[in-house]
Symmetry: C2
Subunit: 369 residues, 2 copies
C-alpha cells in the first residue's frame, strides 16, 4: 500500500489523479500581460527561434507558458513544445534526490560547476509537488547556488508552481524538451526525496543519483521505501572532516546491500561513492560513472529503449490520470463515493462490487449526458 | 519504468488494464452443468450455509463460481461473497513468495504442517497470472504437498485459471473471504515471485514473507526489484547440511541490508531468519515473528488500518482497471492508438499532446454513442 495516511485525496494525489485548483503566480501573469501590451504578441515560432538561438529570456518565458495553468496558454505551449521536439533529446538527463540533510543544493552547486568547467552547458530543473506547502523552497532561492546561478553555462529554473504530481511532472518533462532545444547538454532534475516525486523523476531521466548521509538513521524516515533500488548510483555526501571514515563505512555497507538486490535492468552495477561538495572531492568519480553508464547503455541499446519507454509511459500515465479525473469529478460519483467507501471499510460491500456499482453509475451518467 | 519488454500489452497487463479472453476450464463448466442437472440449483444462501458449516465441497464449488468468467456466475458469486463478508476477517493472511529454487512448495508443506499441529486451520491459495504459460504449475499439483493435502485441518486450492493480474487478484481476494467464512484462521497466499503479482499479494495480506536462497546470485535475476523492501520478514531457506553456514552469512547480510532501508511502515523491524523445510527447523521462529507482528500491529491499530486501506485500494484499483479497459477497448482508440504511440516514440508528438488527442477522441465518441 503506497498511500499511508489513508485519505482519499492523498491516494488520488499519489496516483496523480486529482488536480488541485490552478495556482498561478499573479506576478507572472501581470508580467506576461504587460509584456503583451508593450510588445507584439510573440508566436510559437518566435519563441522557438529565441530558444534555439540561446535567448535565455525567451526560454524562461516559454517555460512560464508551459507551466501556466491558464487555458489561453495551453495551445501556445503545446505548439512551442511540438516545434522544439525535433531539437530535443541531445542531453544527459540526470535525476538527483537525497535524504533531508544530505546537502542537495550544495552538491548541485559543486557538481554543476564541475560539469560546466568541462565545457558542458547545464540546465537545473526541479519537481516539488509539495511546493505549495513549502512555499517553493526548492530552487526557489537561487542564493542557495551562488556560483552556479551566475555561471553563464548554467541555467537554473525555479520549481514550477504547485499542483498535482501529474501536473508538475508534465511541466518539468516539457521544460526538459525546451532546455534541450536551447542546447543544454546536461539536465539536472532535482526532487525533494519524499513521497512519489522520485517515481516521476525516475521516469523522465536517464540516470538517477541518490544522495545519502553516513549513519543517517532517523533521516531515512522521510524517504520512500524502494528508492534505493531505483537509483542508478548512490553517493554518500559530506565525506569531509571527521566524517570521512563514517562515510567510507557507509559506502561499503550500501555497496554490499546493493549486491543483494536483483541486478539493475541496465545490466550496469550500481556503484556507491563518497563525495564532499564542500571540498569538491569525489565529483569527478560520479561524473565518470555517469559518462560510463551513458556510453555502455547507449552501446547496448538500453539508453534509447528506456527513453522510448519513458515517452510511452508519460502518454499512458496522462491518459490514465485524465480518465480518473473525469471519473472522480463526475457529480454522480462525488455524490456516492464517500458512502460507498464507508461500506467497503465496514465490510458491508466487497471492494469489487462497490467498484462495479460506481462504474455503472458513471457510465450510465456519461451516456445520458 | 516498470514495464521492461516494451510492448503495449505488457504495459497494460502490469497495470491490470487488459483482460485476456476468458479461459474457462471446460471440465469445471461441464461439472457445474451436470451438477445443475442432477440436483436442485443451489442458491447463494445454500452455498453460504455449506461454507459456514465446513462443507469443503460447497466451499470449492463456491470458489469455482467466484473464479468463473461466465456472466451467468457473476451475480451468484457476488451474492455469496456479500453474504460471507460479515463472517470474514478473522484470520492471519500471510503472503509467501520466493526466488525460484527457494523451495516454496516444500516450505509451505512444512510450515503448513507446523501451523495445523498448533490447532490452526489453514487455507492455501495462490496468485499466478502466468499460469496460462506455465499451465498452472503453481499448486496445480497437490502432490507437491503430500502431507498437507491430506491434513484435515488444511485446505489447498489450486491456482485460479489464467487471466489479467487484476482479474486473478480479484478472484484470490474473494476466495480469501470465502475461506475465512469457512472458519480457516490462517490463510497462505502463494505467489510466483516474478512480475507484478507480489504487489497484488502484498495488497491483500497482513504479513508478507519472502523466501531467499543463500548466495543466490543468478537466481535473483527473476525477482522484482523492490520486493525486499515490501517483505515483512525474510527467511533464508535450505539451511541444512553443508549449506548452514552460507545461510547464516546470508542472514546477517540481509539483516544489515534491511537496516539501511527506511523504517518499515508498521514500525516493526523486518527480521531475517534461516530455516530448513526439509529438517523442519526455523519454522517456530518464523511463526513467532508472525504472531508477534500481528499482536504488535493490532495493538497499535496498524493491522486494522492496513486492512481498511487494502479494502479501499482494491475498490480504487478495480475502478481504474475498468476505466482503462473501457478506454482501450473503444473502437476509436484501437484504431488510433498504435499510430499515435509511434509518433510519440519518433518525437513527432509530445507524450501529453498525444494523450490529449486520444482522450478527446474517446470522450467525443462516448458522448455520441
Amino acid at each position: 500500500m503506497e498511500h499511508q495516511d489513508g485519505t482519499f485525496r492523498s491516494y488520488l494525489e499519489e496516483k496523480g489523479g486529482v488536480e488541485k485548483p490552478p495556482v498561478v503566480d499573479p506576478n507572472a501573469v501581470a508580467r506576461f500581460k504587460s509584456r503583451k501590451r508593450k510588445q507584439k504578441v510573440l508566436t510559437a515560432k518566435d519563441y522557438v527561434q529565441g530558444i534555439r538561438s540561446g535567448n535565455r529570456t525567451l526560454l524562461s518565458q516559454a517555460i512560464t507558458i508551459v507551466e501556466s495553468n491558464l487555458q489561453e496558454h495551453y495551445e501556445l505551449a503545446q505548439e512551442i513544445i511540438t516545434e522544439c521536439l525535433p531539437f530535443s533529446g541531445n542531453s544527459i538527463r540526470i535525476g538527483i534526490t537525497g535524504v533531508p540533510g544530505a546537502g542537495k543544493s550544495t552538491f548541485i552547486e559543486s557538481f554543476g560547476k564541475y560539469i560546466t568547467q568541462k565545457k558542458h552547458s547545464l540546465a537545473v530543473l526541479a519537481i516539488d509537488p509539495s511546493s505549495e506547502r513549502t512555499k517553493g523552497s526548492i530552487l526557489g532561492d537561487k542564493t542557495r547556488m551562488v556560483e552556479l546561478s551566475v555561471d553563464e553555462n548554467a541555467y537554473i529554473r525555479p520549481s514550477p508552481s504547485a499542483g498535482s504530481l501529474g501536473g508538475v511532472a508534465r511541466k518539468t518533462r516539457e521544460s526538459i524538451i525546451l532546455c534541450e532545444a536551447a542546447g543544454f547538454d546536461v539536465i539536472f532534475v532535482e526532487t525533494v526525496g519524499v513521497g512519489q516525486s522520485e517515481t516521476a523523476v525516475h521516469s523522465m531521466v536517464d540516470f538517477f543519483l541518490l544522495l545519502m548521509l553516513a549513519g543517517a538513521g532517523d533521516e531515512l524516515q522521510g524517504i520512500k521505501r524502494g528508492i534505493m533500488e531505483m537509483a542508478d548510483s548512490i553517493s554518500i555526501t559530506k565525506a569531509d572532516g571527521s566524517n570521512i571514515d563514517k562515510a567510507k563505512v557507509a559506502r561499503s555497507e550500501y555497496q554490499t546491500a546493493l549486491s543483494l538486490f536483483p541486478p539493475h535492468p541496465s545490466g550496469v552495477t550500481q556503484k556507491v561513492t563518497v563525495c564532499s561538495a564542500l571540498e569538491k572531492r569525489g565529483l569527478s568519480e560520479i561524473w565518470k560513472i555517469i559518462e560510463e553508464y551513458v556510453s555502455t547503455t547507449k552501446h547496448a541499446g538500453f539508453f534509447e529503449e528506456k527513453r522510448n519507454q519513458q515517452a510511452k509511459y508519460w502518454m499512458y500515465e496522462s491518459i490514465h490520470e485524465q480518465l480518473q479525473r473525469n471519473f472522480y469529478s463526475s457529480p454522480k460519483i462525488q455524490k456516492h463515493l464517500a458512502a460507498t467507501e464507508q461500506k467497503v471499510i465496514q465490510q458491508q460491500k466487497s471492494s469489487f462490487v462497490a467498484a462495479q456499482e460506481l462504474l455503472d453509475i458513471y457510465f450510465q451518467y456519461k451516456e445520458k449526458s
